[in-house]
Amino acid sequence: MDNEIIKTVDEIIAEYGSANDAAIPILQAIQGKFNYLPEVALKHLAETTGISPAAIYGISTFYSQFRHQPIGKHLIKVCVGTACHVKGAVQVYDAFKRELKIGESEDTDTDRLFTIEKVACLGCCTIAPVVQIDGVTYGHLTTDKAGETIRDFLLNQDSVPSVNNEFILSDSASQGEIRLGLGSCCVASGSAEVKLALEKSIKKSKINVSVKHVGCVGICNQVPMLEVHKPGESPSFYTKIKAEEVGEVIRKHFQPSNPVYRFRNNLYNFLENYVIDGIPKSLRRYSSEKRDTPVSEFLDGQLNIATEYRGFLKPTDLAEYKNYGGFSALQQCLSGKSQQEIIGQVIQSGLRGRGGAGFPTGIKWQRVKDSVSDEKFVICNGDEGDPGAFMDRMLLESYPFRVIEGLIIAAFAVGATKGIFYIRAEYPLAVKRIREAIKICEDASLLGENILGSDFSFNVRLFEGAGAFVCGEETALIASVEGKRGLPQLRPPYPSEKGLWDKPTLINNTETLATIPWIIRKGGEAFGKIGTDNSKGTKVFALAGKINRGGLIEVPMGITIRKIIEDIGGGIPDGKKFKAVQIGGPSGGCIPALMADTPIDFGSLAEVGAMMGSGGLIVLDETDCMVDIARYFLSFTQDQSCGRCTFCRIGTRRMLDILNKICSGKGKIEDLESLEKLAISVNKGSMCGLGKTAPNPVLSTLKYFRHEYEAHINGHCPTGKCKDLVSYEITNDCIGCTKCAQRCPSGAIALNPYELHVVEMDKCIKCDICRQICPVDAVILGQAKC
């Protein structure tokens, strides 16, 4: 075994080289082979390369992607991102552990079949809570579905449809086009199955219709979504379509060109209609012409710049991208525009960085251009680590060429010859698409030597992040590319002066780069006309949480929170009351419903104690506990802190300690003051942005929801989210159906048919299954007796 490992490691080293900056890709490759990092492999790596044991160990323990212990046959990743958290991810995690009988301090079952782990965010926020077992994603989970999910996985593990072998059925005499989104959310919601069904159905019915796989359609909560486009007809959208419903849709819209088939199909139609009566009820079909449909409302009010041509661009079809004006901006730049002209346009556009802090992009470009050096770099920051944000993932998956075009223009403008795509490894589809797109661009002379016949040469490579939120910070990202632990550096010097390998380096967020081609094509002035005084253009948001129509939206800056939630998002589901919106993830804050008319721009968000952040927008309703939300973010940041400076390493942890104390009912009123003071200290004293902004979720909830903190201190969690403060009670509405008793995993409810059920609190583990399963809502939350 050891020899085999050593041989594999040698092969990997041969492929990646033995320089220090190869360390992360090498470790990723080793883990790719063995599912973990065997110690012999690491030792051998140290012996045969110049990479020291200290460096290897330092890196492999810094990035959460790496494991030092072998895992079970299958890996269950329970997403604990923000959207999943507010929808009960922790209880789902507990339920899976219970189901697999995995002990408290363990992560693998006794048969070593499953290993379970929590992951920061899978970026499938609209179908939360989400669990990924190997390649299969399950959405909308509840605690009582753990067993069912595992059984389903084991049953179907060999027949998992793949999205990799994309198929296109096109014909010169096409009768129309069917579009199917294949973004990560879509796939997680069953797009791949729909794709298979579509394939079969079209084959069977012998119709001539082209099927097109488009990127993320944005309406993530309505996916899988089929769009039917037929000449002379307004497009139809079928939302939340199931595989078994596909045939029906095809037959409704298309007739085979051959009369015999048509007849057969009509017969089928007749027979099936006879049984089913029209379109099956579960299908939601909306015409694009009809107003007031969820789809049109969702799309209204949006303005697509970064997501231009959303829903009809095939991600890796270069010809199509070009047909829609793709790479014309680059062409313009290379044939006659000076570097300064380009930068001038960007400055004029007023574009500010979309990664969070909002630094003016044009000025950043200018600084890199003005730095004198024999070599410069540009980096696309796609290390989107905010739980609850998936804008970059979607842009990279759906518009790889646009981002590449933006990056090439940036490189040209600042005089860089090398570029890097830094994409987090948790986004396999984004990585795959960008890799493909880079290859295609290289073949088309859009990358490489003498691009499009010009003097300009530019090469780009892809670097997969290894799981560290802090690497979204530009100096930490650079450290990571250099093969080090992702530690932020004190700025100045800024990367524009001293970046990757101490050379001037431009780092832009994915979304920032995605807007560049538009700005060049339409001019900075056009972009500057959109938005508000201090925030120009549009912003892409990931809308998730307690919202009817979650998804990816691109809206003009200055739009109010209310418009996003009520008009685009369609309000709060289940008639619940809108309570607050969390903007900006771990760096942002919670804005209460009362302030829903706050326009979204950099200035006004900062004013109310939130932050634009990268664009995560989690809607919270009356059942969400604000103290729990603050605690959730603090537990995230204290784990993601690089650990270097005192305020961030210990300060965030101490804040979490106090929040834990409050959530468990042991808080005292003076704790609120200490918490607030400490939060301010951490903000003032931390070295980098992560630490400086980590207190925002606490400060903003303390500001707007202090009463909830006070309630906890008085032993009461108003929403019943804090386990330690609630008890389960069964009211007289109970019909004695025993459903709860049968499903209770801890035997806390005695099985007495037709009698009023009772929860024995000393046995209860507060998994919430009884409350979810009760058909008459007789299980309610009470206040725990402390």
């Binding site: 004190l490 650990g643 400076c645």
Partner: protein, 525 residues
């Protein structure tokens, strides 16, 4: 050159200078722990924070380069509070005692663990020296002290406390058995004379330390023999008269003059004592209003009114300690006060009664089971030893050595050079301010021949990592993990011996806390 302002003073410094270098070059004090000249300075401790008054931002001065128009404050309230906070946060994650619990419990602050280690090593004379640095009457106290130190001894969590009191008595008994007794070297004669009224434990102790400081001492007592309560009151434990006589004899031999059968009257006090002595110490034991009138001083509810810490009475040049200030149950407390008063008088005679140096002590709660085994790594197993010859006779040398080896070495090995302790004292931090969380479990790594590593004392400055990397240690040290669980450790679970083959001394020296220290510990200041 760049022009910057620091605390209102304009400086011209070269480009590339850090703000810390600029400030220090102009004499401003900037605290720092993680910064060391010649090493990569990656700010981590954050106690060197200063404020740029223009932006209102705080930043670590060790890594920030100067730039034109900076207007730095090193004394702003924000700066001081943030430094304090940084220290308080670091302390909340610091598991270790600066001083051992026994020493903290000893009213005389005797360095018990060091005494134990010297006895364990057979150096009895040096052990007595250490004892006498803090306790003038170890032989006497060896018999009668109720030993508050033993009640807090961490060894009680294993079996029974170390027999500290017997060990102390052993050092004194050993000395008594020698041909020549030990006397601490006296400071140069000052020519100052101090009168001490009362020859009980407080007076005797005070005399001893005044003599050591180079002053002359005359002790007055109304009784026929010296000793006060030690001789004339009923004691809880038996004190052989020979022991009392022996130790009083030592003080006499050290230079004290005893005037016995000298009841003090108001007249005598005003004519024979006040004018003829440079200072007076009242160590008379319990006083009543008539006596107070004799000395012309004010009384408080409990006894003679004194300033806390300095033992000055309401009358200039007159000091008081022991039960005359407040009734004391333990003789050791009187002995401790006698010493403290001597130091205060010493200051008075030299012109300034200095405030006691700021003192800081880190301590943590009960040992957890795994920690007990960490502590047992450097002590011998076995239950408490009782003197075979009987409690009164005390230990034989062999017994003393065996018993002393039971000591767990709870005290820090770098109590004097630890910067975390120094700054915690200087900034008068509240070490419990952020103690809301669970504390980490203490570990001690002894695999190295000369160095001990205690990860829970580490502040993660990374200097040692930088040193082992720079000096190309084959294994070296590295950062493990991230966030709150960040730790400095050895790759591939190797030992410290493999990690520090050539850089051990340099790492110990660079380490700003007691995380990396020499096994033998450092000389205490």
């Amino acid at each position: 050159m760049v022009e910057i302002k620091i605390d209102g003073i304009t400086l011209k410094v070269p480009h590339e200078t850090t703000v810390m270098q600029a400030a220090r070059s102009a004499g401003f004090e900037i605290p720092s722990m993680c910064y060391k000249n010649g090493h990569q300075n990656h700010p981590s401790c954050m106690i060197c924070l200063v404020k740029d008054l223009k932006s209102g931002n705080l930043f670590p001065s060790c890594a920030m380069r100067v730039s034109g128009n900076m207007e730095i404050s090193t004394v702003d309230e924000d700066v001081i509070n943030s430094r304090k906070d940084a220290l308080e946060l670091l302390m909340s994650d610091h598991v270790g005692d600066c001083e051992a619990p026994c020493r903290m419990a000893c009213p005389a602050f005797m360095d018990i663990p060091l005494m134990n280690r010297l006895i364990a090593g057979g150096d009895f004379a040096k052990a007595l020296e250490i004892v006498k640095q803090e306790i003038a009457l170890p032989f006497i106290l060896g018999y009668i002290c109720p030993a508050p130190c033993e009640k807090v001894c961490r060894r009680t969590q294993v079996d029974e406390a170390v027999s500290i009191c017997q060990l102390k008595k052993f050092t004194a008994a050993k000395d008594a058995g020698n041909e020549t007794s030990f006397f601490p070297t006296k400071n140069k004669k000052t020519g100052k004379r101090v009168a001490i009224i009362g020859t009980g434990p407080a007076g005797l102790s005070c005399a001893f330390y005044l003599l050591r400081q180079g002053h002359e001492c005359v002790l007055f007592d109304k009784n026929e023999k010296a000793g006060g309560t030690l001789r004339y009151s009923a004691l809880d434990k038996e004190l052989p008269e020979s022991v009392l006589d022996h130790e009083i004899g030592l003080i006499q031999n050290y230079g004290a003059e005893f005037r016995l059968k000298y009841p003090i009257t108001k007249e005598f006090f005003e004519q024979e004592i006040i004018p003829k002595f440079d200072a007076v110490v009242l160590a008379t034991g319990l006083v009543n209003p008539e006596q107070a009138d004799i000395f012309g001083i004010r009384l408080s509810k409990s006894g003679i009114e004194v300033k806390p810490g300095t033992f000055e009475t309401s009358r200039k040049g007159v000091f008081s300690c022991g039960s005359s200030v407040k009734s004391l149950k333990m003789a050791v407390t009187s002995v401790a006060q006698g010493k403290a008063t001597a130091l205060s008088v010493d200051g008075f005679l030299k012109g300034t009664i200095s405030k006691p140096e700021p003192f800081f002590n880190s301590k943590f709660g009960k040992l957890q089971p795994t920690e007990v085994s960490e502590y047992l790594k450097e002590s011998s197993a076995g239950i408490r030893i009782f003197p075979f010859a009987g409690e009164s006779k005390g230990f034989s040398s062999e017994e003393a050595i065996s018993e002393a080896k039971r000591c767990l070495h709870c005290d820090c090995r770098k109590p004097a050079s630890c910067k975390l302790r120094q700054y915690s004292a200087e900034y008068e931090i509240d070490r419990r301010k952020y103690s809301s969380g669970e504390r980490k479990l203490l570990e001690k790594h002894f695999q190295h021949e000369t160095v001990v590593y205690e990860p829970e004392k580490c502040i993660k400055c990374g200097l040692c990592v930088d040193i082992t990397t720079g000096k190309k240690e084959l294994t070296g040290l590295t950062f493990i993990g991230r966030g709150f669980n960040l730790k400095i450790d050895i790759p591939f679970n190797q030992t410290l011996n493999e990690a520090l083959t050539k850089t051990a001394a340099e790492c110990v020296d660079a380490c700003p806390t007691g995380a990396l220290s020499f096994k033998i510990g450092e000389e205490k200041g």
